[in-house]
């Protein structure tokens, strides 16, 4: 039993290329003239949950945003390096950014539902992709809401405003909204930082379920949460990747002194 469990979580360096969801190569990013990420290389395995931890301002969110090119919304932005997702360099000139973002979904720190009905929120992305057949949309909405564990709560009020939902429900709606597009990768940017502990637990369970469907990359400040939900974990400090390994080793016997200090709460 133990052997089986160990074989599931491989060592990072032993991963083969076809087991990777994301391959980041020498990525450096400057925002407003300040170097935020310095020469990051990371191999993120498919259908696993990878956590990014580190102090505020260490570049976790920037790294996450660089995977679906959300950084480009910032005007003063420059980068170098490559990000390979499913065999394509997403920073190549030919890449269709809008299409990339449907494949790499994202959930933000604060729930940001559109001021429309719950139903409209979930099918927003699908409609943009050109799906207009009512029955297909209905099915997709139901499936997405079920996968986000929200269906039973909202199935009778699908056409109420999404703004009438509670904070936890809104955040799950955000996950459903992203899942509706059936992304290969789901980026979660501190998804529970604005939620209470019980709702947080809900979302964490949801993350464990979602692993079967897509690769999850989560940024979190909460060390316990990172240890609970992640298979792999990366520790960033001032724009540099200090340590990256499977969560068990990172949280129980970190290789670097800095990581140990951060995990045990000596700074940060």
């Amino acid at each position: 039993m133990l052997k089986l469990f160990e074989s599931e979580i491989q060592d990072i360096d032993l991963l083969k290329d076809d087991e990777l969801a994301v391959d980041i190569k020498n990525l450096s990013i400057k925002l407003n003239g300040k170097k935020v990420l310095k020469d990051i290389s990371m191999r993120i395995p498919r259908h696993m949950t990878t956590a990014m931890i580190g102090q505020s301002g260490c570049g976790k969110t920037t790294l996450l945003n660089s995977l679906n090119r959300m950084n480009e919304l910032n005007q003063h932005y420059s980068f170098s390096g490559e990000v390979w997702i499913e065999g394509r360099n997403v920073y190549s000139k030919k890449e269709n950014v809008a299409r990339l973002r449907t494949k790499v979904g994202m959930v933000f720190q604060r729930p940001n539902p559109f001021p429309m009905s719950i139903y409209e929120n979930v099918c927003f992305g699908l409609k943009i992709q050109g799906m207009s057949e009512r029955r297909k949309l209905d099915d997709a909405v139901e499936k997405a809401l079920r996968n986000a564990a929200l269906w039973t709560e909202v199935k009778d009020r699908l056409f109420d405003s999404a703004l009438t939902l509670s904070g936890g429900q809104q955040q799950r709606l955000m996950i459903a909204r992203a899942l509706a597009l059936e992304p290969e990768i789901l980026l979660l940017d501190e998804p529970t930082s604005a939620l209470d502990p019980l709702t947080t637990l809900h979302i964490e369970e949801l993350i464990n379920d979602l692993k079967k469907r897509c690769t999850i990359i989560i940024v979190t400040h909460n060390m316990q949460q990172a240890a609970r939900v992640s298979d792999y974990a990366a520790f960033l400090h001032q724009g540099e990747l200090i340590e990256y390994s499977d969560s068990d080793s990172l949280f129980t016997m970190p290789a670097k002194k800095q990581t140990e200090d951060y995990i045990t709460g000596r700074y940060g």
Binding site: L73, G105, A178, L181
Partner: protein, 512 residues
């Protein structure tokens, strides 16, 4: 020892009292304005009492009698005294003497051309006989209305087409004695005969009237708009009179040099101008604001544009008028004329002030209002919403049209309605670019192309400006100006109220 400096608490009390006082003063001023305009304006619709004024000229030792309508006896007396004293000021004589009484059995006859006759009814004459009872008047007037409508039918549906056919024959040089031409001519004369008979018949309906000097004269019933007995009116009759006058005010043209009648052409012109302006300014302003806020990078150039927009809002409106006249009318309009209307030159078509140039000038004038409030609306859209749309694979255009614009729509609508209210009340630039004190025809009629953008038009603000100058001495005329002010005030208030309601409705829809 007394402290010279105020302590913190005193300062607080002082500031709250002064600011409260300022706010109260503002409110009182506003309410006073509205009440003043409402009272003076609604007086126009209220029936005036008819007074018999006996004027004794102590210099010439003569007494003469007049009938004058007025709302208030004291005001009438003051008015009369001031008028007469100015004549007698250099003559060392006794001041003239007035005696004012309410007239009995007196009628107020309002003619169709806006004139008002006061006096006693001597007799009501119709082919059926002579009557002294005014109660028969309505039945007689009904008869006259029927005759008039049949006359109109003959003139417009029989004579006019025949006349047109005849002039066509003239054009085609059909011989004078061609049988077709003679047939048409016969029909025409037949119709003319019928119409003459009707005219003669109509002249048999008239009333004999006697004024205060005991002069008798006749008034054709076909010329009469309405007859009232204001001194004998009960409250319901007064209300009915008021309602009739309001309907006339809104639906009729100004008469007797804008001292009676209605303001319909001015109201219509205002609405037309404002609508065309809205059509011009809405897309331009909203697109400019969307570009500035969503697309333009933050450079020195965009901040220069922003500063220019704010400065545009501060440019005196008459400067816009001069610009509109100099550029739109003379340059653009003149060019259009020389390219497309060469037939009618040298008389200008678009090269003269007109409805379209006025609307365009006002669109320019209200552009800053629309841009600023649209940008305000766009600024209210949370940044997270844009990021959310992008993260779901929306392009910039989809993000703007599907999430940003709907949420910013309250701001856009508010800006548009504020612009409309501004344009409805503006005067100075309009005088220069197309609003006139009297326009012979409306900018919309049954003649192709139905909407005549090159025509001059009437505008409520210009109407008030013009009338207020010329009617200072005329009680009835100045009352009409106040009534027009009241109407303008109501229009602007209603528009603002509408803006608030729409904004709140949309805001509720898009934020919880």
């Amino acid at each position: 020892m007394a402290k010279t400096k105020l302590n913190h608490q005193q300062l607080h009390a002082f500031s709250s009292i002064t600011s409260g006082f300022a706010a109260a003063l503002l409110l009182i001023t506003l309410i006073a304005l509205v009440i003043f305009i409402s009272i003076r304006g609604s007086a126009y619709f209220w029936p005036m009492t008819i007074y018999q004024v006996d004027f004794t000229d102590t210099f010439k030792k003569q007494t003469s009698t007049y009938q004058i309508s007025a709302w208030d006896k004291e005001e009438l007396l003051a008015n009369l005294n001031s008028r007469v004293q100015s004549q007698f000021v250099n003559q060392q004589t006794e001041a003239p003497y007035f005696r004012i009484n309410i007239s009995q059995d007196v009628f107020q006859v309002i003619l169709k051309d806006g004139k008002v006759k006061l006096g006693k009814l001597v007799s009501l004459n119709s082919p059926n006989g002579v009557s002294n009872n005014f109660k028969d008047f309505e039945a007689v007037q009904e008869n006259v209305k029927l005759l008039l409508s049949s006359l109109e039918t003959i003139q417009f549906e029989q004579m006019a087409p025949l006349h047109e056919r005849l002039s066509q024959y003239d054009k085609n040089q059909v011989a004078e004695d061609a049988p077709a031409r003679l047939r048409v001519l016969d029909a025409f004369f037949l119709a003319q005969e019928k119409s003459n008979d009707l005219q003669i018949e109509l002249e048999k309906y008239f009333i004999l009237f006697e004024d205060a000097q005991k002069h008798q004269f006749r008034i054709d019933i076909r010329d009469i708009e309405a007859v009232y007995q204001p001194n004998e009116m009960e409250i319901f009759a007064e209300l009915e009179y008021m309602l009739e006058r309001i309907v006339q005010f809104l639906g009729d043209s100004p008469k007797q040099a804008a001292t009676s009648g209605g303001v319909f052409p001015a109201l219509f012109g205002t609405v037309m101008m404002v609508l065309i302006m809205a059509v011009l300014v809405a897309p331009l302003g909203i697109m400019a604001a969307i570009y500035l806020h969503e697309y333009a990078p933050e450079t020195a150039f965009t901040s220069f544009i922003r500063i220019s927009v704010s400065n545009m809002a501060g440019v005196p409106s008459v400067v816009y008028g001069v610009f509109g006249l100099g550029f739109f009318v003379y340059v653009v309009g003149g060019t259009i004329d020389s390219l497309f209307y060469t037939d009618s030159l040298p008389s200008p078509t678009f090269g003269a002030p007109g409805l379209f140039w006025a609307a365009l000038t006002m669109a320019l004038l209200t552009l800053p209002v629309v841009i600023v409030s649209t940008e305000e609306g766009l600024r209210r859209v949370p940044g997270g919403l844009r990021a959310g749309a992008y993260a779901l694979g929306a392009t910039k255009w989809e993000t703007v049209t599907k999430t940003v614009v709907p949420i910013a729509s309250p701001g856009m609508i508010t800006g548009l309605i504020l612009a409309i209210a501004r344009a409805a009340g503006e005067v100075a630039p309009l005088i220069l670019v197309g609003a006139v004190k009297f326009a012979p025809s409306l900018p919309v009629d049954g003649e192709f192309p139905f909407l005549h953008l090159e025509r001059q038009f009437m505008h409520l603000g210009v109407f008030i400006y013009d009338g207020a100058f010329h009617n200072q001495t005329n009680t009835q005329g100045s009352a009409m100006m106040f009534a027009s002010c009241l109407l303008l005030l109501i229009i602007v208030f209603v528009l603002n109220l509408f803006a608030i309601v729409v904004r709140n409705k949309l805001r509720n829809r898009y934020t919880r």
